[in-house]
Structures are given as structure tokens and as C-alpha cells.
Symmetry: C2
């Protein structure tokens, strides 16, 4: 079976992205650097500006972060901070402003350090998902809209917002379609490739990534027709984000004969599930507010959705993936494990960082898990 042409296209687009981004910036477009899937990119697009995800998936920048931050916080936070400190991430360097959010203690407090190096705006994402918190979040989204308008000098008109909402909803629809295709007994795409798709969608221009996924879907449909693809024990990965540079877990899984059929993650379902159900700022705010992240107290919706996902993607088991020292996903993980086991879904919990040192150990555990399910 040949490789997917659209994945080559993806890699190609990625290799050009840096220059493209600086080109767009030279043409006067403002760049908004983002850490998290909670920031409504529609507002940025509606102001003719560019949202771009920031680097944070590599071990190499962690040592310089550890000069300022404690060692025992999550590698994603340390890596991100180190990328800024080392000026090693072209997307951070291109950013006119960075938009942070209060999803976890580690990031929240890291921003206090980072704000000494960059222009930074932090959105308050409340802990609860009640009406009072929804109101606060809506005000935060409104503030962001104002800030974007000021920053870009462009008014976010109703028409512009509608256009942006349609555009991002369209991308969500395509991601759903990819997930549907992965439900086939022979999955037409490897998990590592699917993950790259999610990772790149944070970095690439939205039109580019949309085009690539459209092509990909054609290719995948063809494969399904020809019964081509990947079979083996079907794995859903659930938990922390795996940002660009970090494909550790799906790589291990697929090297030992498994196939990843879904990612319940910020680089996965949390990115595309739920559409913006209208064209108002309230509709926009509401969609993001509903993202079922472990930062929420309490988070039954996530567990419910996880069970459905296992079912939809016909997964044989779940790998619950936690970045080291991520308290929220880690503590919730114990609950998730309990609830999934209650309904007979096999689950294994892996806590790891970006280093290579535990790869063999994880491989051994996952081999045992795959054999067992």
C-alpha cells in the first residue's frame, strides 16, 4: 500500500508554513499565538488575522525553561516556555500577541513568567460549567473580540464573523468525516498520520488545511472501497494534548501492531466536536464553553462522551495518556479508569513526558495491554 498523498501534501505545507506566515505578516496581517483549543479562533479569522498554535512538543527547550520554572510541572508547559525563551519557535516569534487561558495551574502561573517576555492576554476560563460561569466566559469572549479589533484595527462585523464560523465549522465537519472513516474495520489511516493532521491544523492556514483534508477524505474513501488500510487491536487514546513534535504514544502503539482509531484530546475530538450553532457571539462562546476538558469541576460529560467514542470508533481499548505532572488529567484519570472498567471497557493509564528514556517500558506495558484486550 502506498503512502497517502495528502499526508505528503501536509508535510509539504508545513515545511513552507514559516515563510508563508512571515509573508502574510509582512503584508500587514496580525498574528495571534495560541496555547489552547479554548480560544475561539473564529474571532481572529473574522478580523483577517492569523491564529497559530505555539510550539511545545519538544524536549530540547525544557532545560532552559527549568532555569525559571520548577522541574516537576508538565513537559508541555516547560517546552512552550523554553521555546519562547530560546526564541526557537517561529510561530511564537511571529506572534504579535499571545492569548493564554486559565485551564490549569501550571499554565496559569507560567504565564506570569512568560508575560515578562511577550505581550500576553490571558482569558479567564472558569472552573465550573454552570450558568454563572457561562456568563463570565461570554464576557471574556467579548473582551477578546474587542482586543482583536484593537490589535488589528479591523472591525469584526456580523458578516465577517458568520464567514469565519462557517469556515471553522466546515473544518470540524471534515474532521468528523475522517473519524467516521476510521470506524471501518480496516482503518484507512494510521493514528500517527491522523494525529499529525490535528497537530498541523493548529499551525497551517485554515484554507490550506481544509483543502488537504478534503483531498485526504477522497483518498481514504478510495482505500475503504478497496479494503485497504490498517487492522489490529483498535485503540482510542484519551487525555492530554499531543502537540506537534510529540507522537510518542501512537508511534509505539502502531509499531507493536495496534491501530489508533481516535484521540479524545485537544489534538483530536476536543478540537472539532460540537459546531457553533448560530452566528452570534453567544453561540460562539457557548460552543467553546462546552469543551469537556479535565480542567472542569466536575466533568461527567467527558466520561459519558468517552464511552460513546469507544463505541463509535469500535475501539478495543483505551490508552489514557497523561503528561507528567498534569494534575487535572491525572486525577481525573483515576475516575475515568473506574467508570470505564465498570462498563467493561479495557483501559491502561500511561503517564509520561517527552523523553526517550521510558519508551521501552511503555512498549512493554502496551504490548501486554494489546495482548490482553
Amino acid at each position: 500500500m502506498d503512502g497517502l498523498k495528502s499526508i505528503d501534501e501536509l508535510n509539504n505545507a508545513f515545511s513552507k508554513r514559516r515563510d508563508e506566515l512571515y509573508g502574510q505578516k509582512n503584508d500587514g496581517k496580525k498574528v495571534f499565538g495560541l496555547f489552547c483549543t479554548f480560544v475561539p479562533t473564529e474571532l481572529i479569522l473574522a478580523a483577517d488575522a492569523i491564529p497559530v498554535g505555539l510550539c511545545g512538543g519538544k524536549e530540547v527547550t525544557i532545560p532552559s525553561a527549568e532555569e525559571d520554572l520548577p522541574r516537576n510541572i508538565c513537559p508541555l508547559i516547560k517546552s512552550s516556555y523554553g521555546f519562547k525563551k530560546d526564541k526557537a519557535c517561529p510561530y511564537i516569534e511571529a506572534s504579535d500577541i499571545i492569548i493564554g487561558e486559565t485551564t490549569c495551574d501550571g499554565k496559569k502561573k507560567m504565564f506570569e513568567h512568560m508575560s515578562e517576555m511577550v505581550k500576553l492576554h490571558v482569558m479567564q476560563l472558569p472552573h465550573f460549567r454552570d450558568e454563572r460561569s457561562a456568563k463570565l466566559w461570554l464576557e471574556e469572549v467579548r473582551d477578546l473580540k474587542e482586543l482583536i479589533e484593537e490589535e488589528t484595527g479591523n472591525k469584526i462585523t456580523e458578516e465577517k464573523l458568520k464567514e469565519a464560523i462557517d469556515k471553522v465549522n466546515k473544518l470540524r465537519e471534515l474532521f468528523y468525516k475522517v473519524y467516521e472513516l476510521r470506524r471501518n474495520k480496516i482503518s484507512p489511516i494510521k493514528g500517527t498520520d491522523a494525529l499529525k493532521l490535528f497537530q498541523m491544523s493548529y499551525l497551517l492556514d485554515i484554507n490550506t488545511i481544509t483543502g488537504i483534508i478534503e483531498n485526504l477524505i477522497n483518498e481514504l474513501e478510495e482505500r475503504v472501497e478497496n479494503n485497504e488500510g490498517y487492522s489490529g487491536k483498535r485503540i482510542l487514546i484519551a487525555g492530554c494534548p499531543m502537540v506537534a513534535g510529540n507522537t510518542k504514544i501512537p508511534e509505539i502503539v502502531e509499531n507493536i501492531g495496534g491501530v489508533v482509531v481516535g484521540e479524545e484530546s485537544c489534538t483530536g475530538t476536543r478540537q472539532f466536536e460540537n459546531y457553533v450553532e448560530g452566528y452570534s457571539i453567544e453561540d460562539l462562546s457557548s460552543r467553546y464553553f462546552k469543551i469537556p476538558c479535565a480542567c472542569t469541576y466536575s466533568n461527567e460529560d467527558r466520561i459519558k462522551r468517552l464511552k460513546e467514542l469507544v463505541d463509535e470508533q469500535k475501539a478495543d481499548g483505551v490508552i489514557y495518556y497523561t503528561l507528567q505532572n498534569c494534575h487535572t488529567f491525572n486525577i481525573e484519570g483515576a475516575l475515568v479508569e473506574k467508570k470505564l472498567k465498570e462498563v467493561g471497557i479495557p483501559i491502561v493509564r500511561i503517564e509520561t513526558d517527552y523523553s526517550e528514556s521510558d519508551k521501552e517500558q511503555i512498549k512493554t506495558r502496551l504490548e501486554a495491554f494489546l495482548e490482553m484486550i
Copy 2:
């Protein structure tokens, strides 16, 4: 120099507290178990109910907590959870309801587990300290008032609230007075005893602790007159709470000839600084909202106040104390260190848990620190 009689009185009152509490409970009073200094105890007192701090300072209950929770979260959270699981804390067992709050990821997510064992109400403490967040917090305080009224069947009248506010303000005033006395060149009280005072004030009846501190102040004033007390390198401990059972750091400091003259902590200044400046629910809410905790983004007020405290208490240096894996205090610690060093205040950062194993190592570091300052 003889020991302080009022500290004997304190120990004596503590040894009787369990039976006294169950006696009050049998008389029909409701007990509200608390984890954190952010919960306005005035509301509980105004409903003729009993606020009581929960156990969480001992290593012994951590192993059973680690059956459910990750190992790499803070010892206070694990210890508290383990105390409930092992039914080992009389105050938790006596509690009709526990009031939690969203001060940190660890606690927030631990509550999801604990709520399967106890009746639990969680207050949403927002991340920010802006007007929007103050409003949300006020609504949370109002909810708590309603909940207490329901739970106790007692109406919190204006008069009752005034009485409770005066009572707690009076206790705060006494704590201030103790701090003032510790400013003397020869501090009339050891840090370990002062810490016990704060710890016990979470556990004892408010009238009892108020009486004891009044007696203590008389004793301390006498000592000051007679130039009796403790001298040596003067240390301010700043950072995480040291709850009952945990006197690790002040003990080490005072064993090597230092004297602790203040605790910038939830078992210290955060407990008594700032009065409730009126008798309305808004005044009450506002006092608690202003507590300068590391859970806040961002927290310049804390650093400012810390510098003042060093000055007021005539401290020679600061020990920044972090419980292991406490992200908020730990990450903020690096900022605090930087800002204090900028103005020439010596500071050493210690991260530790409840075990004995690192005591010698900490002793060596603190000996070097005391010698240096």
C-alpha cells in the same frame, strides 16, 4: 525561661476538642468541615453552626490515598483524602457537610473523588481578581449562605451576621497583636508555638481560641517587658499552609538557632490579615476575595505584601516553603525569589513533603542559609 502557660492551655483545649465537638453535635449543632481559609466562617457561626478545619498534615494516611489518587500531587491533598478514606479524622467524621473550593487543580479534582464518600459543596473561587470575578465570588458566597441556612434550619439574620463578623474580626485583631509582639528584637514566642496557635484556631471553638490568645498576649507582653524570649536569625516562612501535624520547617529552623517571626501562609497572615470592613454580605465576600493566594492570576499584591512583612517583622531572611507538587506556590516561588532578591532580601526555597527522609538535607541547607544572612 518557663514554657508559656497559654500554650499548655492550647494543648489541653485541643485534647478535649473531639469530645466537645461531638457534644455540641449531640446538642443539635451542625458541623461544617473546611479545607481552606477562603471559606467565610462568619456565615457558619452566624447560623449557630460550627466551622472546623479538616486533618491533612500527617503522612500516615497518604498510602491509602495513593490507591485512588496519583502519587505526584501535594501531600496535603493526599493526606486529607486519606484521612477521610481511613475515617481517621474526628473533624471530618463529625462534619455534616464539607465545603471545598477551587483554589488549585489538585484539590478541585480530588473533590470529584471525595464527593463519592461525603456530602460536599464546592465554592468556585475564580482565577482572576477583577470586578467580574468579584461578582461571581459574591454569588458563590450568597449560595453558601443559603446552603448553610438550609442545612442548619437557622436564618442568618443581619444581627447574627454582625455578631459573627465582630467575633472573627476580634480574633484577627488578636493575631495581629501577636505578630506585633513578635517584632521585638527578642521574640517572646517560638515560631513552632505561634504556628500551633494558627493550626488550632482552625480546630477549636472560636470562643476558646480567643480566650487563649488573650491570655497568651498577656504572657507575651510580660516577657517583652522582662526582655525574655528568643533571639537568633529571624526568619519569615512564606508559602504553602502548614496544617496541624506539620511543624517540620519551623522545628528545623529553631533547632539550629533561628527564630521564626512570621508565617506568610494560610496558617499565618492569610488567616487574619484584612478585616471585614462592614456588616453586609458584600463586605464579607470582599474580605475573602482579597486573600493574596498563589491560586490567583496574577498575584503582584502578594509579593508587595511579602516585602512589607519582612520589614514589619524585622526578618533577616525568607524561607519560601512549598509542598511537593504544589504548582501554584511553586511556580510563583521563582517569581517571588527574583523580586525579593532584587530588593536585597535573602530567600531560600524549600520544596518538601511530610516525610522524615529529607529532614537532614533541609537542615544542612538551612544551616548554610542562616549562616549566610
